[in-house]
C-alpha cells in the first residue's frame, strides 16, 4: 500500500476543509462578531421556559428586555422551545426585574433554566489564560517528543511535525465551529476550549504511535529509503489507528453526540471531528511532512510542478 505517494493530495484535501471555516472566522472577526461565548467576552445569558396561553416571539422578548436598558440583547429560541436571552453583564436585581416584566407582559409562568453572568474582567483573563494554556500545551508537547525521540536522528523534526499536524487539527476544529456557528448558532465557550485541548492531547498521542514505529523501524531497516520506511510504518500501524479511533473512541463519542443531552452534543461533535482529524493527520499529514522534510522537497516546489501529484 503506497500511502505517501499521494501526499500532496492529502494536503490539498485538508486545506479544502480548513480554508472555508477560517474565511468565515476571518469575516466574523472583521465584523467584530466572533462566536465567542460570555465565558470569554463577559456578559449574561438567561435561559427561560415560558409557559402561558400564547408563546411570545423572540422579537417580543428582545424589545421588552432592550427597553429596560439592557445592552447588546440577543434573543434566540432553542430546540426545546425555550428562550436564550444574551446581553451585557446584568446582576441579580436586573435579572429579577426582567423576569417579572416578562411575567406581566406575557401573562405566563416563567422558569429560569439557566442563568450565567460573567464579569467583563473575568472574561478577558479567561481569554488570555486560554491562549497561555494552548501555547504551553504546544511547547510541552514539542519538548516531550524531542526528549522521547532523542536517540533518533532529527528528534526535533519529529516534534515539529507533530506540532504542524496539531495545528492542522486545531484548524479543523476551528473550521468546524465556524461552520457550526453559521448554521447552528454554536459558540466557543469554556467547554469548547476543553475539547480543543483534548484534541491536542490525543492528536499527539496518535502521532507518537506512528513515530514510535518509525523510530523502531529506523533501527531495524537501516537500508530502506526513508520514504519507504515511513510508508511501511504507517501501514503497520494503520490497523491500530483505525481500530482505536473508529471502533472505540469514535463509537463512544458518536453515542454521546447522538443520544447524549443537548448540553454535551456540541462538545461531543467537536471531540468526534477533532479526534478523527487527529488520526487522519498522523497518517496523512505528520508522517508525509517528515518525508517532505527529509527529501527537502520544497526546493522543487517553485521550479516546476511537483512530481508527486
Amino acid at each position: 500500500m503506497n500511502i505517501l505517494g499521494k501526499r500532496y493530495l492529502y494536503f490539498a484535501i485538508s486545506l479544502i476543509i480548513i480554508i472555508p471555516g477560517l474565511v468565515i472566522l476571518g469575516v466574523k472577526a472583521a465584523q467584530n462578531n466572533l462566536p465567542l461565548s460570555i465565558d470569554f467576552t463577559g456578559g449574561s445569558m438567561l435561559e427561560v421556559s415560558i409557559e402561558g396561553a400564547a408563546t411570545p416571539q423572540p422579537a417580543d422578548i428582545h424589545q421588552l428586555v432592550a427597553e429596560m436598558g439592557t445592552k447588546d440583547v440577543k434573543v434566540q429560541s432553542t430546540e426545546s422551545g425555550d428562550f436564550l436571552i444574551r446581553s451585557s453583564f446584568i446582576d441579580e436585581t436586573t435579572r429579577d426585574q426582567i423576569i417579572s416584566a416578562m411575567q406581566e407582559e406575557f401573562g405566563a409562568a416563567i422558569t429560569i433554566l439557566r442563568f450565567d453572568s460573567v464579569g467583563p474582567s473575568i472574561g478577558k483573563q479567561v481569554t488570555s489564560n486560554a491562549t497561555i494554556a494552548v501555547g504551553v500545551a504546544a511547547l510541552a508537547i514539542l519538548l516531550y517528543i524531542t526528549i522521547a525521540f532523542r536517540r533518533v536522528q532529527h528528534a526535533f523534526r519529529y516534534g515539529l511535525c507533530a506540532i504542524i499536524a496539531m495545528i492542522h487539527d486545531v484548524a479543523i476544529v476551528f473550521s468546524l465551529v465556524a461552520i457550526g456557528s453559521l448554521l447552528l448558532g454554536w459558540e466557543m465557550d469554556a467547554l469548547f476550549l476543553t475539547a480543543l485541548l483534548t484534541v491536542i492531547g490525543f492528536s499527539v498521542q496518535d502521532k507518537i504511535v506512528v513515530f514510535d514505529r518509525i523510530r523502531e523501524n529506523t533501527n531495524l531497516l537501516r537500508r530502506l529509503k526513508f520514504e519507504t520506511l515511513v510508508n511501511h510504518s504507517i501501514v503497520q500501524t494503520l490497523q491500530r489507528s483505525i481500530n482505536t479511533q473508529l471502533m472505540t473512541v469514535e463509537f463512544l463519542l458518536f453515542a454521546l453526540a447522538l443520544f447524549g443531552g443537548v448540553t454535551l452534543r456540541e462538545f461531543a461533535v467537536i471531540l468526534l471531528v477533532g479526534l478523527l482529524s487527529g488520526t487522519y493527520s498522523s497518517i496523512f499529514i505528520a508522517s508525509p511532512i517528515l518525508v517532505v522534510w527529509e527529501n527537502k522537497e520544497w526546493r522543487t516546489w517553485f521550479r516546476r510542478k511537483p512530481q508527486a501529484v
Binding site: 474582567s121 510541552a140 492531547g201 498521542q205 473512541v249 453515542a255 454521546l256 443531552g261
Partner: protein, 486 residues
C-alpha cells in the same frame, strides 16, 4: 512476560476487591467478572456536579485593584469564613474552593434562589467574646448569644444590622454575667429544649491590634492583643471577676477557641496561650483581626442551572455511554476473539478501579467528566489494541504463540507509555486552567481524563498482561489463528 502470573492475579483480585468495597460503600453495584453476574448499576449517590443536578455557582474575587497582590492566607481565611456562614444556611453539600490567587468559587447544589446565598456572602462577619463560665464548649459548636437581642425569647439569630453600639456591655455586665453563670445549673434539670444563651462580653470591634508572638526558647506560639481604650476598663473588670473561668472567642455564633482567664487584664494588653502551632496561631489571629472578611470580595460570575436540564442530560449521557460501551465490547469480542475477551475483562477492571478512585477522592461527577471517562476508556482500549495488533503481526511472521504474546507486549509498551504521557501533560495544563477560574467543569474533565489514563496504563501493565499469561498457561491452543482472529 510476567514471571509469577498467579501472584499477580492474586494482587489484582485483592486490589479489585478493595475497589469494589469502596464503590459499594458509596452504594454502587459493580460487575463481578468471574461469576458472570453483570450488574452495572451506575451511581446516583455520587456527588453530582451542578451541570447534572442544578444549582448555583458563584465566583468571588478580591475587590482590590488588579495589580495589588492578595495574601494567600487572607483568601484562604475568607474562604473558611464564607464556608462557615453558608453552612449555617443549611444548604447541603455546598463547596467552597480557592481558585487561583484572588478568587473563591462557591457551589451550592440544588439551590435555585440565589438571593439568600448572595446576601450571606456579602454580609460582614461578627466576632464576639463570650462568657462561658466554668464549662467550656468545644470549638466548632454553634451557640446563641445575647448580643444584639432585646430579650432572651427572640428565636432568630441576631443580625449585625440590629446590633446596638458596642459599649453597652458596661451596664449590663454585672447582671447578665450572673445570669450566664447560673445557666449551667438551670439547664441541667429540664430537658435541653431551650438552648443556652451566652452572654457576650464584647465584640471584635473592641480589639485594637492582634499579633502572633513566637517564644523561641520554649518554641510555643501565643497571640498577643491590645484593646481600644474605651474597652480596656470593661475588660479589666470582667477578667478581674472571672479568673479561672472561660472566655470563648466566637465568630458568627460559632466557637473558635475557648481560652481560660488566668489573670486580670487591667491595661488592655493580653495574651492568649494554648497549644498553638505556628499555623493555628496565625489562623486564629487573622480571624480575630478580621472578624469580617480579611479581603473585601465581589461577585464576578454567577451561574444558575435549573434542575431539569441537568437530570435530562445525566440520563441521556449515561444511556449514551452504555450504548457506546456495548458496541465497543461487541466489536472487541468479534474482531479480536480471545484477546478481545481479555480486553473486555481488563476494561471492566479498569472501570472498577477508576470509579473507586473517583469516589475515594470525592470527585464531582460532571458531564464533561463523563466524556473524559469515556475518552480514557478509549485510551485503555487503545493500549490493549496496540498489544494485540503487535501480537498478530508477530504471529503472522511465524513466531510461536508464547513468543508472540511476549513480543507483542514488549514492543507495544514504548508507544503506549509515550502516547499516554502526552495525554497526561495536556490534562495537567487543563487542570491548571480550570482551577484559576473556578471552572469546575473543566477541572472535572481534566481530572477524570488524567486519572483514567493513569489507571488504564496500570491495567495494561498488570491485568491484560497477567490474563494473557494465565490463558496461555491454562490452555494448549493448537488452532490459535482462529482464536486470535487472524
Amino acid at each position: 512476560m510476567t514471571r509469577r502470573p498467579y501472584l499477580m492475579l492474586g494482587l489484582i483480585l485483592l486490589l479489585t476487591a478493595l475497589a469494589i468495597w469502596v464503590d459499594a460503600s458509596q452504594r454502587i453495584t459493580i460487575t463481578n467478572p468471574f461469576n458472570q453476574k453483570t450488574i452495572v448499576n451506575r451511581n446516583v449517590s455520587t456527588r453530582l456536579g451542578l451541570d447534572l443536578r442544578g444549582g448555583l455557582q458563584v465566583l468571588l474575587e478580591a475587590d482590590l485593584p488588579a495589580d495589588t497582590p492578595v495574601d494567600a492566607e487572607a483568601i484562604s481565611v475568607a474562604r473558611t469564613i464564607i464556608e462557615n456562614r453558608t453552612n449555617a444556611l443549611g444548604v447541603a453539600e455546598n463547596m467552597l474552593q480557592v481558585a487561583g490567587d484572588r478568587r473563591i468559587v462557591g457551589e451550592f447544589p440544588g439551590l435555585e434562589d440565589s438571593k439568600a446565598v448572595l446576601a450571606i456572602l456579602q454580609k460582614t462577619g461578627l466576632l464576639e467574646f463570650v462568657d462561658m463560665g466554668t464549662s467550656p464548649l468545644d470549638p466548632g459548636t454553634v451557640i446563641q448569644t445575647d448580643y444584639g437581642q432585646t430579650s432572651t425569647q427572640s428565636s432568630v439569630t441576631s443580625t449585625p444590622e440590629s446590633a446596638t453600639p458596642v459599649i453597652t456591655p458596661t451596664e449590663a455586665d454585672a447582671t447578665s454575667t450572673a445570669e450566664a453563670n447560673a445557666t449551667p445549673e438551670a439547664t441541667a434539670t429540664p430537658p435541653a429544649e431551650a438552648p443556652t444563651i451566652y452572654h457576650t462580653v464584647m465584640t471584635g470591634a473592641a480589639l485594637d491590634t492582634v499579633n502572633v508572638v513566637h517564644d523561641s526558647t520554649t518554641g510555643s506560639y501565643e497571640i498577643s492583643f491590645t484593646l481600644k481604650t474605651d474597652s480596656s476598663e470593661l475588660f479589666a473588670n470582667y477578667t478581674g471577676n472571672n479568673i479561672n473561668k472561660y472566655l470563648a472567642i466566637v465568630l458568627d455564633k460559632e466557637v473558635l477557641s475557648v481560652p481560660i482567664i488566668k489573670n486580670q487584664i487591667s491595661d488592655g494588653h493580653g495574651v492568649i496561650e494554648g497549644n498553638f502551632s505556628g499555623d493555628s496561631a496565625n489562623a486564629l489571629a487573622v480571624q480575630l483581626r478580621y472578624g469580617s472578611l480579611p479581603v473585601p470580595l465581589k461577585i464576578v460570575e454567577t451561574r444558575i442551572i435549573g434542575p431539569t436540564l441537568g437530570e435530562d442530560s445525566l440520563r441521556k449521557s449515561l444511556i449514551a455511554g452504555i450504548i457506546g460501551m456495548i458496541i465497543v465490547i461487541l466489536f472487541m469480542a468479534l474482531y479480536y476473539r480471545l484477546p478481545g475477551l481479555v480486553a473486555i475483562i481488563s476494561i471492566l477492571f479498569y472501570a472498577i478501579i477508576a470509579f473507586a478512585i473517583f469516589k475515594y477522592f470525592h470527585f464531582t461527577l460532571t458531564l464533561p467528566g463523563i466524556a473524559g471517562f469515556m475518552l480514557s476508556t478509549g485510551a485503555a482500549l487503545d493500549a490493549n489494541i496496540l498489544i494485540f495488533e503487535r501480537m498478530k503481526e508477530e504471529l503472522r511472521s511465524g513466531r510461536t504463540l508464547l513468543h508472540a504474546v511476549e513480543q507483542g507486549w514488549a514492543r507495544a509498551w514504548s508507544s503506549i507509555r509515550d502516547s499516554n504521557i502526552a495525554a497526561i501533560i495536556i490534562s495537567i495544563i487543563l487542570f491548571w486552567f480550570g482551577s484559576t477560574f473556578g471552572a469546575t467543569i473543566v477541572k472535572g474533565f481534566a481530572l477524570t481524563l488524567a486519572l483514567g489514563v493513569l489507571v488504564s496504563l496500570f491495567v495494561a501493565i498488570s491485568v491484560t498482561r497477567t490474563l494473557l499469561a494465565l490463558i496461555l498457561s491454562w490452555f494448549e491452543i493448537k488452532n490459535f489463528p482462529r482464536w486470535f482472529g487472524i
